[in-house]
Amino acid sequence: MGMTITEKILAEHAGLKIIKPGQLIEVKVDIVLANDITAPFAIEKFRASRVEKVFDKEKIVLVSDHFAPNKDILSAEQCRLLREFAKEQHLTHFYEGGEMGIEHALLPEKGIVKPGDVVIGADSHTCTYGALGAFATGVGSTDVAAAMVTGEIWLRVPESIKFVFNGRLNPWVGGKDLILHTIGDIGVDGALYKAMEFTGEVIKDLSMSGRFTITNMAIEAGAKSGVIAADMVTECYVRERIPNSSKIKFFTSDDDAKYSAIKEYRVNKMEPQVAFPHSPENVRSISEVGNVPIDQVVIGSCTNGRLEDLQIAARILKGKKVAPYVRLVIIPATPRIYQEAMRQGLLEIFMDAHAVISPPTCGPCLGGHMGVLAQGERAIATTNRNFIGRMGHQESEVYLSNPAIAAASAVLGRICSPEEIGVRA
């Protein structure tokens, strides 16, 4: 019986030849990640264990990205805790200030995660790294603390669901629309405890940026992980970022691997998708949205804050202005993306359009800072969650979309497609 890519990576890290879904295994981890929200608990528990050193100072990654640049005194204390721990443990990978980017954009960009790795992170969107052909899953702070001690984690081998995308994508339709459509189809617990494996000719043609967007939101369907087997596109991406990349072992699923379900989508008629409040499964095509006026637009986050996302936004915003009484907040996800956006003149286009450009941060996505919503306000965002109160007041609303729809909506002041403001693909 063949194995899926997920089973093969986990088996290798468990030191086993064959593993089956449902089996409890202990696996060695390549990267253990936490941020300024989740690391404080983990550090507390690590210290309580009285172990002096982390298992490997090169494999623990701490990023102060959620409430940083420090939004208040309490956040400043949390960020200090990370800084002191990183210093004390001589961690290779600690990022704050001008080196800080949104973790799930930053780690791949810096070549910290490799195809075939097992990554655990105290952040639910850790599943993003699956786009590199790695096994990556979100856990809590205690699991991270335990892994900082042992370098291992216990996992239940997940069943896999295969999602096959065929056909050709329409203009302005990308990774975000594929994943929103999928979540709309299977629901927010449609892949509960499972690995989502994305494949098909559409995925093959997708850039790494679009692939990261897809695996990023696997958690929004309840999945343990999302994965895209590494191919030429992945290889090119890692070759530029990882030294000795030729030694990396690439895993793929066997032809006779077993899946709990296979879902096939023909994308030819797919339009840009918008998730209505208050659930990522509440998805409609852009032509079915109707009249939805907005107060704020956020373009950024670990889902859609990469250079390609900013380039799409710039194509739409060039020579245009944000509608009166609407705020557009653009958040390049990492310093390198910020700098490249500057070099390419994107920031100038954004500023001419009257956008606010924020330093890299998770900020408004989880109602932290840099664009929190007032009572009754409505936002469209390229982020990943639109739960009640997610971006601010409990009576505010968040709509989720791709960067093209978000940028066009900022210009018109209501949710719309780029065509409605006269931008052709």
């Binding site: 409890l24 929200i37 989740t38 404080p40 608990f41 507390e44 528990k45 309580a48 264990s49 172990v51 959620h66 409430f67 939004k71 208040d72 309490l74 956040s75 949390q78 992170g121 105290a122 952040d123 639910s124 850790t126 979100g138 856990v139 809590g140 702070s141 205690t142 699991d143 603390a145 335990a146 001690v149 042992t150 216990w154 927010v188 617990d189 509960l192 405890y193 958690i219 309840g222 343990k224 659930s279 989880l366 109602g367 932290g368 929190v372 969650r385 739960f387 009640i388 109160g389 997610r390 601010g392 409990q394």
Partner: protein, 163 residues
Amino acid sequence: MKGRCWKFGADINTDLIIPGRYLNTTDPKELAKHCMEDIDSDFASKVKNSDIIVADKNFGCGSSREHAPIAIKATGVSCIIAKSFARIFYRNAFNVGLPIIICPEAFEDIDEGDEVEVNTHTGKIINLSKEKIYKAEPIPPFMHDIIAHGGLMHYVMARKKNK
């Protein structure tokens, strides 16, 4: 554990359990004050020690914040019975010592305010108000082992010692 039940619907996410705006602290008492705030603003003041939460499917979906089970535990809630749990929340609840149990039948039958007794070891749930018994899915033996050690960190340390 025995207590009065509070009922919640499907897909109760971690932002509802503890909103992101309060994640600048790790103090359980402070977190408990805002538990369920955006879905029931009075919950934290109404809930009493040893009360039980009964919820529909996918309880705890969303973020990996361990603040969620910590906040619930700090309100005094002794146990959560749900149709199903989101996977990170499931791990986190065990890791912080908040007993949780899966039982679709109990969710359908229990009404808010019912007095319920739960034995997580046997999986037996007794509805004292309705004089009914429900059988929950047993907790996996491996999880019992973690609980018996007093949580994941103690379990890990004990194993490290034996190696």
